[in-house]
């Protein structure tokens, strides 16, 4: 590689470079300046993310390019996820600035680690080579372990970090084993070559399964979901939200990138038309989707802690999205991408409510939420909106997202997919029950004991509004969102 190529390649990752510089700036700021008000590093992070977004938008005109000797691919598909990560991270930074849990600790490194995880995700969804892919996924994982255990004096948080680390290490070990097999078969780390290799050699299917374990862990698909409830409950709430939205989206994004050659009518990167007939992984995802949403929804029914309940609900949502993978065509991909955007708003919103509750009441138990509507009316109403959206009721964006997924299922027109749609619909009804348990506690029930009124700051309301408004508005007029998603597939 001559210098000129290097520079050209570096230009392609300018947004990521901005992010890296931001991380360094945060560390520098924390080390040398104003140690006592280290929360200002959060503002530095926000500025950095804004600049990154500008560079990402400017990149919009460049044609899809493979860079750094086919390690990463810079294209609209990756940009879609990067925008998603920037939006999520920016919101998580805002949450963290507002979170009592996080603020009790000196937090210079907190934002640096958060952005490092985001950096890893950005590379994860652009990687087309297993080497790059593994480096990226480990960057995300290691940062996430630290963030999950960030509340050093909280035993739950430490437990969460340890569990996450153990599960994560096993999952990534298994995945690495699978990758080594694939390398042995194809003699290359290229993902496209791996898919080609799998289709010709049956033994490679085993390798594929091993690799999928790593993905399933990140996407929290059953039966690789066991870490989710404990980690989500123990981690600081903003980090829980981050894991539930950004980390999950990154896992799905990377899996899409890996499997894109198998989508018959999607032309991003290499398409391997001949392979599809020989390698049909859709039944696998059919099963994963059914198991994941059923486990998530059924176990959620009995939860008494809001964060834990939302953890199971987010498992169920991973299952709904996986239904799209069981179809595997361009329409399904569009529906899944759409779902991520909807999921961002409604799920972050639900976790934000959990965070505010912990700020105000010091607990996220459902029993403590009783009669909340009389003390924090706007919070209860906002939560109801998020929960209706998570259930998939119109007029919220969650309905449109589910509508799209069910549409691609019905459009397949075979009984396998009709039955999948029916199972999905049944799951939706189950989910209504436990989502309504929250509304029931907040709105319909009265508090057992007289509790003092809680203060309400404008920042709470503003943050909630930022998420409530799109949840409703995009449920009534979602044409812009369709355009945003279709751009990603060009």
């Amino acid at each position: 590689m001559d210098t000129q190529t290097v520079f050209r390649n570096l230009q392609l990752v300018l947004p990521e470079i901005v992010l890296t510089l931001t991380i360094l700036a945060i560390i520098g700021y924390d080390l040398f300046l104003r140690r006592e008000t280290s929360h200002r590093t959060g503002l530095v992070a926000l500025v950095g993310l804004a600049i990154m977004a500008v560079f990402l938008i400017r990149q919009g005109t460049t044609p899809p390019t493979e860079a750094f000797m086919q390690l990463v691919r810079v294209d609209a598909f990756g940009r879609f996820f990067k925008f998603l990560f920037i939006a999520t991270t920016a919101l998580i930074v805002l949450f963290s600035l507002h979170s009592r849990e996080v603020r009790t600790y000196k937090s210079g490194e907190y934002y640096a680690i958060l952005l490092t995880a985001t950096l890893g995700m950005c590379f994860l969804v652009s990687a087309i080579n297993f080497l790059m892919f593994y480096l990226a996924i480990e960057t995300v994982s290691l940062s996430s372990y630290v963030l999950a255990g960030y509340l050093k004096r909280d035993r739950m948080s430490s437990e969460a970090a340890l569990k996450y680390l153990l599960y994560g290490a096993v999952a990534s070990g298994v995945m690495l084993f699978g990758i080594s097999y694939l390398f042995g078969i194809t003699g290359s780390f290229s993902m496209a070559a791996a898919i080609g290799g799998i289709s010709t050699q049956k033994v490679a299917l085993v390798a594929l399964l091993f690799v999928l374990v790593g993905f399933a862990f990140k996407m929290s698909l059953a039966p690789f979901h066991f870490w989710v409830p404990d980690v989500y409950q123990g981690a600081p709430t903003p980090i829980t939200a981050y894991l539930a939205v950004a980390s999950k989206a990154a896992g799905f994004g990377a899996l899409f990138r890996f499997l894109l050659p198998l989508f018959p009518d999607v032309e991003i990167g290499q398409t391997l038309q001949g392979v599809i007939a020989r390698l049909d992984v859709r039944p696998l995802f059919w099963v994963l989707a059914v198991v994941t949403m059923s486990v998530g929804n059924l176990v959620a029914i009995r939860q008494r802690d809001l964060k834990r309940l939302l953890a199971y609900s987010s498992i169920a949502h991973a299952g709904y999205i996986t239904m799209g993978l069981a179809v595997m065509n361009a329409k399904a991909l569009e529906a899944m991408l759409f779902y991520f955007v909807a999921y961002l708003f409604m799920n972050l919103g639900a976790f934000l409510v959990a965070m505010i509750l912990i700020n105000k009441l010091g607990s996220s138990l459902l029993d403590d939420c009783k009669g909340l509507v009389s003390r924090l009316p706007f919070l209860a109403v906002a939560m109801a909106v998020f929960l209706f959206s998570l259930t998939g009721m119109p007029p919220t964006v969650g309905f449109i997202a589910k509508f799209n997924i069910f549409y691609v299922l019905i459009a397949q027109g075979t009984w396998w997919y009709y039955s999948l749609a029916l199972i999905g619909v049944g799951n939706t009804v189950v989910s209504l029950y436990y989502y309504m348990r929250i509304v029931n506690a907040m709105v319909l029930q009265k508090a057992d004991v007289e509790r003092p009124p809680v203060s309400w700051s404008p920042a709470d309301g503003l943050l909630l509004l930022v998420l409530v408004v799109p949840t409703i508005v995009l449920g009534i007029y979602w044409s812009p969102l369709i355009r945003f998603v279709t751009v990603a597939l060009q």
């Binding site: 209504l432 029950y433 709105v443």
Partner: protein
């Protein structure tokens, strides 16, 4: 000018009212009530206007509004009404206005109550007005949310259970409807109901058409409600506040029948006109009539009794729809209308006594007629209208259903006549237990109906008698539309 956007105006005025109500401070209770009453009055006036200016001889959709909404999905903001929608909108206009006053004595979170109530009104009117399948579903669900809160917050002691039961039952129904909507959309790429009616996309695949028909039927049957999907109804009615029972029985139960006639029958005519399917639905109607009446007879709770009588009456609607000839169908639709008035009146009557006695146990009433003469008079009108006494609109509708079904299903008709006897039995027995006999000492201090209660009850009583003597005022509105519907369904 107003005609071009009349339907939009009718549907979204309550939303405007909701915003106004939310803007008023919660302590200004009277102002909130008056605002809500003002907006429901406007809806009432506009729906009456619609009822009067609607062209009865024209079977095409009228007052059509058609704008693109989400072009990528081919979703339109498409509104329009035919005779069937017009009388149900008219009914909604009447009952919503009256129910606003029935809730006047609610003191708990008045602002929240009327905000939810007005949202509910928009949802109901939207369902009757829209001609876009997607929009239909949106309104259908919008109706659900406020109902959950209205029962759950302002209901009786077991309100949480009743609210979630209502919600889950209805959601099961609506997701089935959603799957069918998706199947239609996939087949035709359109949500346009009229286009779907013209195209009959599933006529070539009769088995699949029947599957879709039954999926839709379950969705609508839960709303009607048809045995065995009815168990949410008594619970919801018993726990709901009086005004919400009025809306529930008067309008929400009509959604199922409306859905069958607007969607299931014209869009899936092959399944609807299948002899086996028709017979099956007729049997279900009969079961509803008999089972509802028998259950009503066994109740000791006044409101539960009225709820079961609704189930029984909706059986006539289902029977009339299943028979599907001109007499029976017009009878069924007229039944929907007159049952809307009579059941609303019965729930209001129960509310009157509950406000005084604070219980609804039939065995603990007696002799109220001597203490409350006005109440007695109005009750007699209400109960006899529900019983189907000649001179009330229920009589006309029942007779029409029987005239129609007699020509097709003789056995079922005779069995259904038994239902009439059972109805007479439980209603007369109720009248006897509540109003006749010796006055119990604990009712000594009861006052007769207040001005507000008379104001809510008298219009319903007058309308029931008026439409019993001059049924053509209402029948003319939908006769042509129903004739057209029969043409569509029977044209194979």
């Amino acid at each position: 000018m107003i005609d071009a956007h009349l339907l939009t105006l009718i549907v979204f005025l309550p939303i405007l009212g909701m915003v106004m109500v939310l803007a008023i401070p919660g302590s200004q209770r009277q102002l909130i009530r008056i605002t809500a009453a003002f907006f429901t009055f406007l809806v009432f006036v506009l729906s009456t206007y619609l009822f009067l200016v609607f062209d009865r001889s024209n079977v095409q959709m009228q007052f059509v509004e058609h704008y693109s909404w989400i072009s990528q999905y081919n979703i339109w903001y498409y509104m329009g009404v035919d005779g069937l929608s017009v009388i149900l909108i008219f009914l909604t206009g009447i009952l919503c206005f009256i129910a606003t006053f029935a809730a006047w004595n609610i003191e708990k979170a008045v602002k929240g109550y009327y905000a939810m109530y007005l949202l509910l009104v928009t949802g109901m009117l939207g369902v009757f007005c829209t001609l876009d399948f997607f929009l239909f579903y949106v309104f259908w669900e919008i109706m659900l949310l406020p109902m959950y809160f209205l029962i759950g917050i302002w209901g009786g002691p077991k309100r949480e259970y009743a609210a979630i039961k209502f919600f889950i039952y209805t959601l099961v129904g609506s997701v089935l409807i959603l799957l069918v909507i998706l199947a239609f959309y996939f087949k035709t790429g359109s949500f346009d109901m009229l286009e779907l009616i013209r195209e009959r996309p599933f006529q070539a695949t009769p088995v699949f058409e029947k599957v879709l028909f039954f999926a839709l039927f379950i969705g609508f049957a839960i709303k009607i409600p048809v045995f065995p999907f009815h168990t949410w109804l008594p619970d919801a009615h018993v726990e709901a506040p009086t005004a919400i029972s009025v809306i529930l029985a008067g309008i929400l139960l009509k959604m199922g029948g409306y859905g069958l006639l607007r969607i299931s029958y014209p869009m899936l005519p092959g399944a609807a006109w299948d002899d086996g399917v028709r017979y099956f639905l007729a049997i279900l109607g009969l079961v509803n009539i008999i089972y509802g009446a028998l259950c009503a007879m066994a109740q000791t709770d006044f409101k539960r009794l009225v709820a079961y009588s609704s189930i029984s009456h909706m059986g006539f609607v289902l029977l009339g729809i299943a028979v599907l000839n001109a007499e029976a169908l017009n009878g069924a639709v007229f039944m929907m209308f007159s049952h809307g008035l009579s059941s609303a009146m019965l729930f209001l009557l129960v509310g009157v006594i509950y406000d005084r006695a604070h219980h609804r146990d039939l065995s603990r009433f007696g002799g109220l007629g001597t203490k409350m003469p006005i109440y007695l008079t109005l009750s007699i009108v209400g109960f006899f209208a529900s019983l189907g006494l000649p001179g009330t609109s229920s009589f006309i509708s029942e007779i029409m259903v029987f005239l129609g079904s007699y020509q097709v299903y003789l056995g079922i008709t005779i069995a259904a006549l038994l239902g009439i006897i059972l109805t007479a039995a439980y209603i007369l027995w109720t009248v006897e237990r509540v109003y006749l006999g010796k006055l119990r000492p604990e009712f000594e201090g009861f006052s007769d109906c207040s001005g507000r209660e008379i104001f809510t009850l008298v219009p319903l009583a007058l309308l029931l008698i008026l439409f019993g003597i001059l049924p053509n005022i209402v029948l003319d509105v939908f006769r042509e539309s129903m004739q057209y519907l029969i043409q569509i369904v029977t044209l194979q």
